[in-house]
């Protein structure tokens, strides 16, 4: 299933050549991956909210896995965005690129999430602490975005003009939609896979403790 999603992604991505030249193609990977990362963080926050309202411990693992996936897709966004910046503007990193800066902030933020999890003993308290932190993350996304927009005028008066959202022709839109569906499916598959693995891990640990 995982492979299928990946193959479908590559298959639909390759034949539809965009008009702007070869380098523009990375748009079909970069943007869906970024949106998928947002979706993962949003999903994590939703599970966190469920955890806090119901106190059902199984949401903890789900929220954690979603953050895990979000960070993986966030790193992919950073890498693809960096490649795009290199091909378009000749630099690997540009502080004028809002999305990339936002992802850097989010990457730092969610890396600290793992630090938090690893340094607190497992239990209901860790679950609710992680949940609170995940909720903060999803609030931080729009606030940071606003902050980065404000900072742009301040520190970088020259903004790269990049109209990705508009002027998408029919075939481009279709490719984009397929790619988005592909990355989302990939994320969902990975999520289910990882969640199953983590659940098995936890069961195993419980059983081992029961044996001792």
């Amino acid at each position: 299933m995982l492979l299928l999603a990946g193959v479908a992604l590559a298959f639909y991505w390759v034949p539809d050549a965009p008009l702007e030249g070869f380098r523009q193609r990375i748009f079909y990977i970069h943007v869906p991956v970024a949106l998928t990362a947002y979706a993962c963080f949003g999903w994590a926050a939703w599970k966190a909210l469920r955890l806090l309202s119901t106190r059902d411990q199984r949401y903890d693992l789900e929220s954690y896995t979603a953050v895990h996936m979000g960070v993986i897709f966030g790193i992919l966004t950073l890498v693809t965005g960096s490649i795009w910046a290199r091909t378009s503007w000749g630099v690997w990193w540009s502080w004028g690129e809002r999305q990339l800066v936002l992802f850097l902030v989010l990457f730092l933020f969610y890396s600290a999430y793992f630090m938090l999890r690893y340094s607190v003993e497992a239990g209901p308290r860790r679950a609710s602490m992680s949940a609170v932190y995940a909720l903060f993350g999803v609030v931080l996304i729009p606030v940071s975005f606003l902050a980065i927009r404000l900072a742009e005028g301040l520190i970088h008066p020259v903004v790269f003009d990049r109209n990705v959202g508009d002027n998408l022709a029919g075939s481009q839109l279709l490719t984009f939609a397929v790619c988005l569906a592909g990355t989302l499916a990939l994320a969902a598959t990975l999520y289910v896979n990882e969640l199953t693995g983590k659940r098995v891990d936890e069961r195993l640990r419980e059983l081992r403790e029961a044996l001792e």
């Binding site: 938090l116 340094s119 609710s128 909720l135 931080l140 940071s144 606003l146 404000l150 301040l154």
Partner: protein, 213 residues
């Protein structure tokens, strides 16, 4: 409501009294912020311009806040006061509010020294800067108190707090620097106020989950 405010007041007074008697945190914060500014004066090459100095002032403020926050729950942790506070018949968010007020007071006192020192060493202090610092204090304290409670429960403690804190306060730095150097500081002050509001509500509502099982 009045009972809640009385709880908050009592908790804040406890922290301030404790600091007044032990003098653990505040002198360290004062010394730290001044020495940071001195280090910055060497770190800035001659002719870097005034804007860079304002930027560094905000770095100094954020780092001083971290220093104060790492100590914020020290007494609670060492003497196991937090368990008692959680058991006390008051709303748990009152613990957050009381601690937050104490942190704001510490920060404000540190800046009472830092801003004149900044004016002496670097650039004049404007009213916009004072307003931005006051607004930033609220935001730093409300987010910081919650994260400090989280960090206090972890094994890494002092190590963890800056990692949790810094990405979350990047917007505060943006707003603060903007209000100090931009031509239209109102936008940035408004942004700081918005940040305070959002994160104060969020921290207030979620503190209970951080300190209880």
């Amino acid at each position: 409501m009045t009972a809640y405010l009385a709880d908050v007041g009592a908790l804040a007074r406890k922290d301030l009294l404790l600091e007044l008697r032990s003098r653990d945190t505040l002198p360290a914060m004062l010394l730290f912020v001044v020495s940071t500014l001195v280090v910055f004066s060497f770190a800035l090459p001659a002719g870097t311009g005034e804007t860079a100095a304002y930027g560094l002032l905000w770095v100094a403020i954020v780092f001083t806040a971290i220093l104060g926050l790492t100590r914020a729950f020290a007494a609670e942790r060492e003497q196991r006061v937090l368990d008692g506070l959680v058991l006390a018949p008051c709303d748990r968010s009152a613990i957050w509010a009381g601690k937050g007020i104490a942190v704001v007071v510490f920060l404000a006192l540190a800046e009472l020294v830092a801003l004149p020192a900044f004016a002496l060493f670097f650039e004049p202090v404007t009213w916009e800067l004072v307003a931005a610092v006051a607004l930033a204090d609220l935001g730093l304290a409300s987010v910081g108190t919650l994260l400090a409670a989280m960090a206090a429960a972890s094994r890494a403690r002092e190590l963890l707090l800056p990692l949790l804190f810094l990405p979350l306060v990047i917007p505060v730095v943006v707003g603060g620097v903007g209000a100090s150097i931009a031509d239209d500081p109102g936008r940035y002050l408004g942004f700081l106020a918005l940040y305070d509001l959002i994160f104060a509500i969020l921290s207030w509502a979620s503190f209970e989950y951080v300190v209880t099982e």
